[in-house]
């Protein structure tokens, strides 16, 4: 579905109200990648430190894939989110990306006319537990994210996060 496109990846973090970013980058953009087959390589490093008083609202990384249409306008090409693994260690996650679909025939027609892809008003809503009941999407591919997580202060407060299986 994404074959033959130029893709750029943007990441950001969505977290609960008890969480703050202590250090590092909260957002990042990748280079624009073209691919001859169906695999796009971003190799985009992420580095962020979070602080919290509560595991609720654990940070999630929100990924947006952006491409350009024939008029050089940025169009969304896919969205997804993944939970930053709460278990310290190394983990590779593969998650599906999807594009929102128009919610009415009129909207679909106007999008087709202007060439704009349907977009979320705020991409971070996909990572929240509420408000997605009426969304219709179409899966278009997968993204692989490698996480290396270290944590401090977990057992001191009585938390057991389990071992990496």
């Amino acid at each position: 579905m994404l074959r033959g496109m130029d893709l750029m990846c943007k990441y950001s973090y969505e977290m609960g109200s008890d969480w703050v970013v202590a250090a590092g980058l909260e957002e990042g953009f990748s280079q624009r990648c073209t691919s001859g087959n169906e695999e796009f390589v971003f190799n985009l490093p992420m580095d962020c430190t979070f602080k919290s008083t509560n595991p609720s609202g654990w940070p999630r990384i929100v990924i947006e894939l952006i491409g350009q249409d024939n008029f050089n306008q940025d169009q969304p090409r896919g969205f997804c989110w993944a939970l930053v693994p709460p278990i310290p260690g190394s983990r590779k996650i593969r998650t599906a990306i999807y594009l929102p679909q128009a919610s009415s025939k009129m909207q679909a027609l106007s999008h087709w006319f202007t060439g704009n892809a349907v977009n979320f008003t705020d991409p971070k809503i996909i990572a929240r537990p509420n408000g997605r009941e009426m969304t219709r999407v179409q899966s278009v591919g997968y993204v692989t994210i490698q996480f290396d997580v270290t944590a401090s202060g977990l057992s001191k407060f009585g938390y057991d996060f389990g071992k990496d299986s």
Binding site: M1, G16, N54, P55, S56, G57, W58, R60, C80, W81, L83, P85, P86, I87, T95, A96, Y98, Q101, I126, A127, R128, P129, N130, R132, E133, T135, R136, V137, Q138, S139, V140, G141, F157, G158, Y159, D160, F161, G162, K163, D164, S165
Partner: protein, 178 residues
């Protein structure tokens, strides 16, 4: 008080006759448990996958429980719906599962079923419209082994995969081993 955090994701649905799906879920728990924060129920997005059989929901669940006893451990009950191109919602399956009891990562695969009308009329309706009878009060039947299940004819439907990261707090202090 012992606490549990479930950082979960209703991830995918697969193995159904059609793959245009959405999932509604509800969390049920006993009197010794309290849901400190998080949504007790919700509905995922509807996915119409193009290339693959799997429908992706990518729905975040953030549950924080306080526990005073082990009885009534939280369960998740799901109802899967087909959302077809005519806007019809057809019941595609009921299912339930206990939320994980061990700290760490776990993928829970819930097999779903739906009531089946075995009469000629029922089978014809199921074949033509892909619909099935629905339970009037699904919750008791989905989540426990009641007498009513004995009289129910059902057919097997697909699977829903839910990924959980479970975080326990103070369980060792109260001497509970999981």
């Amino acid at each position: 008080m012992a606490e549990i955090h479930y950082l979960g994701e209703i991830a995918t649905g697969y193995g159904f006759p059609e793959n245009k799906l959405c999932v509604r879920y509800k969390i049920k728990y006993g009197a010794a448990w309290k849901l400190i924060s998080g949504n007790k129920d919700g509905q995922t997005q509807t996915d119409w996958p193009q290339d693959e059989d799997e429908a992706n929901f990518n729905h975040f669940m953030d549950l924080h429980f306080g526990a005073r006893g082990i009885q009534g451990w939280p369960q998740i009950m799901i109802q899967v719906y087909l959302v077809d191109s005519n806007g019809r919602r057809v019941l595609y399956g009921y299912g339930s599962s206990i939320l994980p009891i061990t700290a760490g990562y776990e993928e829970v695969e819930i097999g779903t079923w739906r009531p089946a009308d075995q009469s000629i009329r029922g089978r014809l309706k199921s074949y033509l419209l892909d619909s099935s009878p629905e339970l009037a009060e699904p919750e008791t039947i989905i989540s426990s082994a009641t007498q009513q299940r004995q009289q129910l004819a059902a057919e097997a439907m697909g699977y829903v995969k839910i990924k959980f990261y479970t975080v326990l707090r103070n369980f060792k202090k109260y001497g509970i081993e999981t």
